[in-house]
Symmetry: C2
Subunit: 201 residues, 2 copies
DNA sequence: GAGTCCGCATGACAGATGTCATGCGGACTC
DNA sequence: GAGTCCGCATGACATCTGTCATGCGGACTC
């Protein structure tokens, strides 16, 4: 019997998922959580075999919960179920030791299969998302360029970025300009968006 | 018996929702759709009493489907179920004639009740979202300012915005500057983000 | 060890951006 | 009808932003 923890802040979906998984003979939902923090607490208490985590949750998001679970409850395999499926999110999730990554467009039957795969030490990544991630490729940005882009992400003026990074404004402009050129963007704002989408930040 | 159309591109959620609603004695799901266009086609064919629409879908989004349904299948009441719940979305939905607006954080039981309310000519809007919308208040932007902001949203340079709007670059700068001042933003990029969040675009 | 490449960092310069003062015309008050 | 307010529109000016030429130092090749 596979003991599953279900974490999703959307009550509607969590409940629905629970009742669908209950139909499977070899799967039991032993705990439900509506936030990242709650998911951690539940996992510590119930030590489930598989944690099914939503990406976007209040408190810790799915990826950081997975990272923490890996240390605190190592026998528990983590998988992410998300509607906001970007190549970037996938990359971060895999780095955090997540073993399954599926969009919410899959069917319940399929989800149950994937839970089983993940439980038996397997891995599963949605094919389309994997293709996206491969298409996005490796980041052409240098570490500094990526850092400047992430500081520029919220639209702050260059002067503020410069002071935060303890750099000359000219230097900051230079990095941002280089990054925008590499990404084919008109200015730093669109460059930041593109880099974020592709998981390069 | 209330005949319901269910539209959500996330298979997992749609299926789960359908099985949960099936438990209610007075509700039948007569059709399911995975996209806006499919939802329209299904509604034309089955003429349901209530259409439960996800906000974000491929093809037409929930709001525009609701607007079209109102004309084509006027006896069908539309309601939006969404995870991306912003005050702006709510405002647009109500303008499109939507009768119910709920986040996916509600329970299935509650959703069934709301479907009944909407079916009997009632309205239902989630309290928290309504509070947000009221807190956001009326837009302080003039029509022109809002127009410039929406053109500026994707990070285009001012020159391009000016040519699209058939205005002098100076004029465009002026509107954007005024809008940023009203919104307390440092520049047009953050101004556009703020306005979008509050449903002023 | 010399040569070469690449990332980090800077300042000067041109061009884009935001601010300001100004004018026009419609709506509303009195 | 005069006065006032507000939105629309423009150009001049100061500031900010992006581009370029330049230099430094570590890594890697030969």
């Amino acid at each position: 019997m596979i003991r599953v923890l279900l974490a999703d802040d959307e009550h509607l979906i969590r409940g629905a998922l629970a009742s669908l998984l209950a139909l499977e003979d070899d799967i039991t939902v032993v705990a439900e959580a509506a936030s990242g923090d709650e998911a951690l607490a539940m996992a510590r208490a119930h030590r489930p075999d598989v944690a099914v985590l939503d990406m976007r949750m209040p408190g810790h998001d799915g990826v950081s919960v997975a990272a923490l679970l890996r240390e605190e409850v190592p026998e528990c395999a983590s998988m992410i179920v998300t509607s906001h499926a970007g190549a970037g999110a996938l990359k971060q999730a895999l780095a955090a030791g997540v073993r399954g990554f599926v969009p919410k467009t899959v069917s319940a039957r399929r989800l149950a299969e994937i839970i089983r795969t993940v439980h038996t030490d397997g891995r599963y990544v949605d094919h389309e998302l994997a293709a996206d991630a491969i298409a996005a490729g490796e980041s052409p940005l240098t570490p500094r360029e990526a850092e400047m882009l992430s500081l520029a992400e919220d639209g702050a003026p260059v002067a503020e970025i410069a002071s935060r990074a303890a750099l000359s404004p000219g230097t900051v402009r230079n990095y941002l300009s280089a990054a925008a050129a590499k990404l084919g963007a008109e200015n730093r704002h669109v460059a930041a968006r593109i880099a974020r989408e592709r998981g390069w930040l």
